[in-house]
């Protein structure tokens, strides 16, 4: 998984060293989980790093992405404190200038994900292509990852669920978050939110391979300014924003 960051914090480095010594026996099972989730014939590889660029100046007062996510992944459209939300709309205001911005908020698929660091069982993991997932078979529902996530990207399943989608298994007592529609991405499609945003005509979300220098997303990130949320924490999210 991603080991390429020179500016890793000392804490992280200490933990990595400690982990190196002790996790020799654990590594094989983690790797198994990583590869087992790839559905396409092509193995998931670190040559790709999926990312999302969200241009808030194009993000209108709509919620097409949220609805699409709910439909695609079988989530409820109800809004309350115990219902899962993989993506949500947030409206922000710059206190000095009064400028109002609307943006979709979702798992930022950090390259240094704190949820993966803290998960006691290794249920939270990062695929070689950067997508952060929860293995529902080994999540014990301790919610430590939810405590650790600075983006409030994760939800806990508080009640038994019905009407699940086969490609997005979910279960009471486990934690979940945006999968970047890994089942679609592996089949060569766009995540549902990105498709819906495009179809709405707003085209605020751009999805692509950050490791491919010729991809539109890599090109734009290279030439235009963008922001990582909570950049101070140095989690290096693969989701970036413009216009905030």
């Amino acid at each position: 998984m991603s080991e390429t960051h020179a500016d890793a914090t000392p804490r992280r480095q200490f933990l990595k060293y400690a982990a190196g010594v002790l996790s020799v026996t654990v590594a094989p099972s983690v790797l198994l989980h990583t590869f087992a989730t790839a559905e396409s014939s092509e193995p998931v590889s670190a040559q790709r790093r999926w990312g999302l660029l969200i241009d808030t100046s194009k993000c209108a007062n709509c919620s097409a992405c949220v609805t699409a996510c709910q439909q695609e992944n079988g989530l409820s459209s109800e809004v309350n404190d115990t219902v899962a939300q993989w993506i949500r709309k947030v409206e922000l205001q710059q206190p000095d200038t009064g400028k109002v911005t609307s943006l979709p908020m979702l798992c930022q698929h950090c390259q240094q994900p704190p949820c993966v660091d803290v998960c006691p069982t290794g249920a939270s993991f990062q695929r070689a292509d950067g997508i952060v997932l929860v293995d529902k078979h080994i999540c014990i529902g301790c919610r430590y990852c939810m405590m650790a996530c600075p983006y409030k990207a994760r939800s806990f399943i508080h009640e038994p669920l019905t009407e699940q989608k086969a490609h997005a298994p979910r279960g009471k007592g486990t934690v979940e978050s945006c999968t970047l529609c890994v089942h679609r991405v592996d089949a060569g499609e766009l995540p549902a939110c990105v498709s819906a945003c495009g179809e709405s005509g707003n085209k605020a979300m751009l999805f692509g391979d950050l490791n491919d220098a010729n991809s539109p997303i890599a090109q734009r990130l290279k030439t235009e300014a963008s922001t990582a949320l909570r950049a101070d924490l140095r989690l290096q999210p693969n989701v970036r924003y413009q216009g905030i």
């Binding site: 709309k89 947030v90 109002v100 803290v118 939810m146």
Partner: protein, 400 residues
Amino acid sequence: MSSVTYHKLAGQSVRFYALLLLLASMLGGGLFSAWQMEHHGHIITGMNNHIVWGMPHIFAIFLILAASGVLNVASVSVIFGKEIYKPLSRLSGLLAISLLIGGLSILVLDLGRPDRLIVAMTHYNFTSIFTWNILLYNGFIAIVLVYLWFMMERRMQPYYPLAGKIAFVWRLVLTTGTGSIFGFLIAREPYGTALLAPLFIALSLVFGKAVFLLILMSSCYGGQRELNQRVIIRLKNLLAMFSVTALYLVVVYFLTFAYFEEQRGVVRFFLFEGGVYTALFWLGQIGLGVLLPLFLLYHPRLGQQLRVITLASVCIVVGGLIQLYVLIIGGQAFPLDTFSGMQVLSSSFGDGQVHAYSPSLWELSLGAGGVALALLIALLAMRIFDILPACVSEEQIPTF
């Protein structure tokens, strides 16, 4: 050196069976709650996607901290050679184990998937401080068991100081580990300070000492044994001193936040504008949990009376639970600064808002069940094994 004789707890009294029944029914209630939570999901609790750790965690962390602190009595005797505490070492070791088991049981039963405990025991992620804690807790139980065995087995007597020293060091690491569960949560401002580790060590000494005093005094009261007042007075002096230390660390905790302009929100929230958390902080944590007991314990006349010492210890226990509530629930209620400096106008997931939480009875009952389990183990062990020292009554014997 006179050798100490140890007794079993007298078990023929109505009081003993009444207590047994009470604890057993509390435990039953806790197990029933856990079953309900498992069956219906956490929807029946007050916990939600914003306050993800609730009442069970407060009880659990209290017990885990007290478990480590309660061993201090044995440590003081073996590390610092204080002979006066030696007769109490067995009780100290026993309580360390029983409180830890009580606390851990709550944590396990609160899991979304408690049935997967075996997963937690077979899949380890060594970058997780949780994983380290699982190992530390299990190790602690094993070490203290050996320590107890060495203390109680005549042949092993020569080795018990060594076991005591290992247990002492392990205990410090364990409490640091418990503090680090929060200390590693970089995203949450109230937890983002290295001070949590020493604060947790101080709290463990306070909680452990208060619980120890209460159990020691009630074991004598219920068992009609006699108390050595000199020991009680020393213990209560230590309790008061630890309490002052913990208060000092709380002050430093807030001072470090007050020092940085961008972190003053934490101070404002907890000390002034946090509504229920502010009220609980001043009235519960500080007033009931520190100032009142310190007044009672240091009062020249009142501070000598067993009743008053009992009252002060109860205040410290209740105040301690409130303190953990303020830290754990308040710390989660405090809004995350996800969009650095921007004001949140609207969000369906509570961004930028202070989150509300009202604990359910199920959670309280699960927590109380863990406490009951800890006490039940201790009570039965005291009944079966020679744990309690006969009174060394070289002084006048106080009565209740």
